[in-house]
């Protein structure tokens, strides 16, 4: 009996234990046919020198393992990632063609400053990133034209001492998706995902991802 209890406790601990090194939390819509995801994102995070954090909107194609995401980026001084070396702070546009390498273009900016981040696939062209409605990057043909809309908080390396990001703050654009690439629809129902330690408030926007 005692052995069974201990075994069960071990399994529960193993499943529940958050990774100290890499961790994502947020929401996804679950449609699979979204051609864009957007929201105003604002907030703050404090990262250690050996870690970093992002807050993004993303479209992810599960079957093809491709993704396109855009949002805030903050990396500690001695943390390197696929967005570049230590101390990179601003915005990131990360893309992955189905089954390919991850490529991340980093832009100067103020982490946490309230902006509208948009990802959108343009027919016959590719995936584009827009900040406050102006194109900042793209188009990129990634081998998929739609996927699932995500709102993502993530840290890598050393955990942030604080992290609190708001999606769709008052006066800004709520978290939205588009299927027809023209009309944007506010997301009022989505599924949370949590790799450990995230506090994700409920829809409708504004909602927050924090820890």
């Amino acid at each position: 009996m005692l052995r069974s209890i201990l075994a069960m406790a071990f399994v529960v601990a193993a499943v529940a234990a958050p990774s100290a090194l890499a961790n994502q939390g947020g929401k996804f819509r679950g449609s699979g046919s979204d051609a864009g995801s957007r929201a105003n994102i604002t907030g703050s995070a404090s990262v250690p020198s050996n870690g970093g954090a992002i807050a993004t909107v993303r479209v992810q194609n599960t079957a093809a393992t491709g993704l396109f995401q855009f949002g805030h980026l903050k990396q500690g001084s001695s943390y390197a990632s696929d967005c570049g070396g230590g101390g990179t702070i601003g915005y990131m546009v990360e893309r992955r063609a189905a089954g390919g390498s991850y490529l991340c273009n980093a832009f100067f900016g103020v982490f946490g400053l309230n902006h509208k981040f948009s990802t959108l696939h343009v027919s016959g062209s590719g995936w584009n990133a827009y900040i406050d409605g102006s194109k900042i990057d793209g188009p990129y043909a990634l081998g998929f034209t739609s996927g699932q809309a995500f709102a993502v908080g993530e840290y890598n390396g050393g955990a942030p001492s604080s992290y609190s990001m708001t999606y769709g703050p008052s006066g800004g654009t709520p978290w939205q998706y588009t299927i027809d690439r023209t009309n944007w629809i506010t997301i009022n129902s989505a599924t949370n995902f949590n790799e450990g330690g995230w506090i994700i408030t409920s829809l409708p926007s504004p909602f927050s991802i924090s820890r």
Binding site: S19, L21, A22, N23, Q24, F28, N50, G51, G52, I54, R58, Q60, T62, L67, Q69, L73, S78, Y79, A80, S81, D82, C83, G84, G85, G86, T88, G90, Y91, M92, V93, E94, R96, A97, G99, G100, S101, Y102, L103, C104, N105, A106, F107, F108, D137, Y140, Q148, V152, E154, N156, G157, G158, T191, F193, E195
Partner: protein, 252 residues
């Protein structure tokens, strides 16, 4: 005999001064203050500086730089070749005043492994400025830092661009543990080699020499602060790649 020798030295000194003056004048005229490629054939100069069989051709057509590269497969090797092509393209674009860089990676049969096009980013370090560290400096520094993070430096392929950089290939004692904390480990391995937007490429291999993590960066292309690149083997779970952690948890 001594007079002849003195005469020859003077003659070569004068020739040298004329050459240096000519190059300096050309650089000022073409590069608007930035150093440029040391050749009437900038693409050949860039390929010579890259010194890798991975990059097979580079040219400028209009405002676009195109770079061809070769790799053996779609994973790590393609990622490494793509980085070399991106670095060559960024340097050549800076020299030519181009606005975009297209890279094309193929295998030995000509089949396409990767194709990427990015905008040229303004700013960043000068591709053809003087190198402030030698190949020996880079290798010695990397060797010492690799030891400090539990890895062995297998090779350092030096590249005389953007102040002097390299592809480092390292073999950790515990490869999977190393890449799990890859962000901090690669950061420590790079040290000041990654400072001031200097490009780099790090390839981490397992005990059999197979790559399990590739992480690189190139300035002056992609975003305003450059472009990073990453790849990890399916069995790896690196914290150095955004959006790629815990594959099993990404989606139900």
């Amino acid at each position: 005999m001594r007079d002849l020798s003195k005469h020859m030295k003077t003659k070569w000194l004068l020739v040298g001064l004329v050459v240096v003056a000519g190059v300096a004048t050309a650089s000022t005229a073409i590069g608007r203050g930035r150093p440029t490629a040391n050749s009437s054939n900038p693409a050949a100069d860039v390929l010579a500086r890259i010194a890798s069989s991975r990059v097979t051709a580079a040219n400028v057509a209009g405002r676009t730089v195109s770079v061809e590269a070769r790799a053996s497969e779609r994973g790590a090797d393609s990622t490494r070749s793509l980085w070399y092509a991106t670095l060559a393209g960024a340097a050549l674009a800076q020299n030519a005043g181009a606005t975009s860089v297209a890279r094309h990676v193929v295998d030995t049969t000509g089949a396409e492994l990767a194709a990427e096009t990015d905008a040229v980013a303004s700013g960043g370090p000068s591709a053809f400025g003087p190198s402030d560290r030698s190949a020996a400096d880079v290798a010695a520094g990397a060797r010492a830092r690799a030891q400090s993070v539990g890895a062995r430096l297998l090779s350092a392929h030096y590249i005389r661009l953007f102040g002097g950089t390299a592809e480092l290939v390292v073999q950790p004692t515990d490869p999977l543990a190393f890449v799990r904390s890859g962000g901090a480990n690669v950061g420590a391995l790079l040290g000041d080699l990654a400072s001031n937007q200097r490009p780099y490429l790090v390839t981490v291999v397992d005990g059999d020499g197979r790559p399990i993590l590739v992480l690189g960066y190139t300035p002056a292309v992609g975003g305003g602060t450059g472009q990073g690149i990453g790849w990890q083997a399916p069995q790896a779970d690196s914290d150095a790649i955004w959006g790629a952690t815990k594959p099993a948890h990404r989606l139900p």
